[in-house]
Symmetry: C3
Subunit: 270 residues, 3 copies
């Protein structure tokens, strides 16, 4: 049932090619752009506060990614978020490093008060920081690429954050958890090597934004992490290391259609 919803939404995204305005970090901007193009969406990366409004006006959805966060990017997000609110466009927040720095946490929380997001997607330490669960945040704090705190911890975090911020929340890790109101999904796709390539989390957020442009936010969030996990599984088959794994990942996204998601997604709703 949920597999079918996800497969349909994926195909819908590929058919409609939504334009996603990405305000994102420079480390993985190339990966997010290429991943969105491979999957069938249309990215536009622009982070100046001076043209954020123009770009958001034309976009179908918006991504705020807080990697390499700084003053200009912050102003661009505030401007874009206001425009997106006026024109009812879904905005996805990826609070990269919110568990690591006061500056990012403070600004993430400020944006969460100012705007209603469609989805927040992060690892457990990031979501824990936002949801004010400091003990979990500290336990899982070693850089931005390792944040697994156990499935039960992540489930509680997703629930707490979803309630606190009134939006869908996607906590990624070994098992990905997506929660919105009374729906909660566990997604068990993926391989370890996904955490050895920079930007796979950022791309999951980008795909979430693309999918939000064409359908329900909760299904979008589930579909995005399932698609990334499946692409990772397919990519791992002939990978000789992280270089070929990344190439295979983009190849897998290029040819992935709904039937692949229908067949391979390991989603459990509880």
């Amino acid at each position: 049932m949920i597999n079918e919803e996800c497969a349909a939404l994926w195909d819908e995204m590929r058919a409609r090619r939504p334009l996603v305005h990405c305000i994102t970090n420079y480390v993985t901007a190339n990966t997010v752009a290429n991943g969105l193009l491979a999957a069938g969406a249309s990215p536009v990366m622009a982070d100046s506060p001076l043209d954020a409004v123009d770009i958001t006006k034309k976009a179908d959805s918006v991504l705020f990614n807080m990697g390499t966060f700084g003053k200009d990017r912050c102003r661009a997000m505030l401007t874009s978020g206001q425009e997106a609110g006026l024109t009812k466009k879904p905005v996805v927040l990826d609070p990269v490093g919110a568990g690591s720095t006061e500056y990012r946490l403070k600004n993430a929380l400020y944006m969460l008060r100012q705007f209603r997001f469609a989805v927040i997607r992060g690892n457990a330490s990031e979501i824990a920081a936002l949801a004010n669960a400091p003990s979990i945040a500290q336990r899982s704090e070693k850089g931005v690429d390792s944040a697994y705190v156990g499935t039960d911890g992540a489930k509680q975090l997703a629930k707490d954050a979803s309630e606190k911020f009134s939006c869908a929340v996607s906590v990624t890790g070994k098992t990905d958890i997506v929660c919105k109101k009374d729906r909660l999904a566990l997604v068990n796709n993926g391989v370890d090597m996904l955490s050895r390539v920079t930007g796979t989390g950022c791309l999951a957020s980008g795909l979430t934004a693309a999918l939000c442009a064409v359908g329900d936010n909760y299904i979008a969030a589930v579909t995005a992490v399932a698609a990334m996990g499946i692409a990772g599984e397919l990519a791992a088959v002939n990978a000789k290391g992280t270089g070929s794994f990344y190439v295979n990942l983009l190849d897998a996204l290029t040819v992935m259609d709904g039937s692949v998601i229908l067949q391979k997604a390991k989603i459990e709703e509880i």
Copy 2:
């Protein structure tokens, strides 16, 4: 005849390894740098207004790419453009997104008034915005990666912009059009997948700048789009998706010499 001119210029560029000062966006900077290195040029990426002059002084040509445009990058372009003018170095303008935001359009037009460019390279919507052909610009406006408005429309745009700005103009799309004064070329190389990888347009502009450093601007612009198109055709042969396509593209540029261009370029001059 034109194929021979292009082939000779390409080999000249590979022999002389021109240093290209790229003031460009962070999304595709890596792609442009790696593409230029693969093709045999020598890129230097630097976008601080505080050292733009020093770098331009050492460079053989300059690239201004307006993706992720902002205040600092703008100031770097203004400083570098002045230095390039004094030292007669060719500057290529890639007005990324000039059809999408007032801010970029205004600044692109300002630079076009201040400086004499060697070549402007963009998609139809970008060139239409500069040439003040708003109806075409609006028709083709969906993100920065889809701008095809028909060969006849693009030909007229290239002519109008070339006359208006007194320089060579390269309008890329399904058919690439290059115009300067009384010469106009149609280049029919390329594959659809080139538009599914971010930065292929940016790289075409980078190659144009590298080729301008060693020869005629019009031939440089034609050669750059032909080389990109041919590399795309070669890359598509064994590509399983956009990941392997991009890898193949750099590989094709690495080994491409003039004989490949001589043989495979589909250039029609009218």
Copy 3:
């Protein structure tokens, strides 16, 4: 003997997965992050002066890379360098382009006065600029990717700079030279194609920082350039161009363990 020290340090780094705070340029940030992840370290890229201290606090070592240097990145380095000094964390300086622009040279020298670095890694023109050997710097100045000035010149530079700045100095080129006090190593691994891919030097600096986090700075610097060279040799075997070479390079780093370094490193200590 030195091969064994390097092999042991490499394995130690892979076992301990040090967190490396990278303040680096946007052209190769993705390459440095993916290279560090492939090799087994844990990168965190953050360059805002507003959170540099928080990130440095959590990190095991720090990388300052001066590519695409500018005001904000400069302030972030000054803030981070102070914190690293207080908490005794090793900092590696990669003075990209210090031989090309007054602005970068001035700031590199300022930081060298303010902070005690663990290692400086650059090409000959960059180190020559810092060590005030202007004739060598000028001879080798063509962009940031070509800086070889002969093994004897590089040896002298490494010695001079090591004495002047009281730290290990790594001068990379056809032969890589590492010097600290009375130890000097020549590393003869590597292939020409490493200079045809952007960011291989930046990654060598990143690996140096990762290795400094777990062991002696001099051995770290030697190990980093040996590992990069070996990875390049392995990557070249089936490369069809720079695209596949880069993929192979990351693959080689992913699977490389100490035994590979023990067997393949061509290090001569004099």
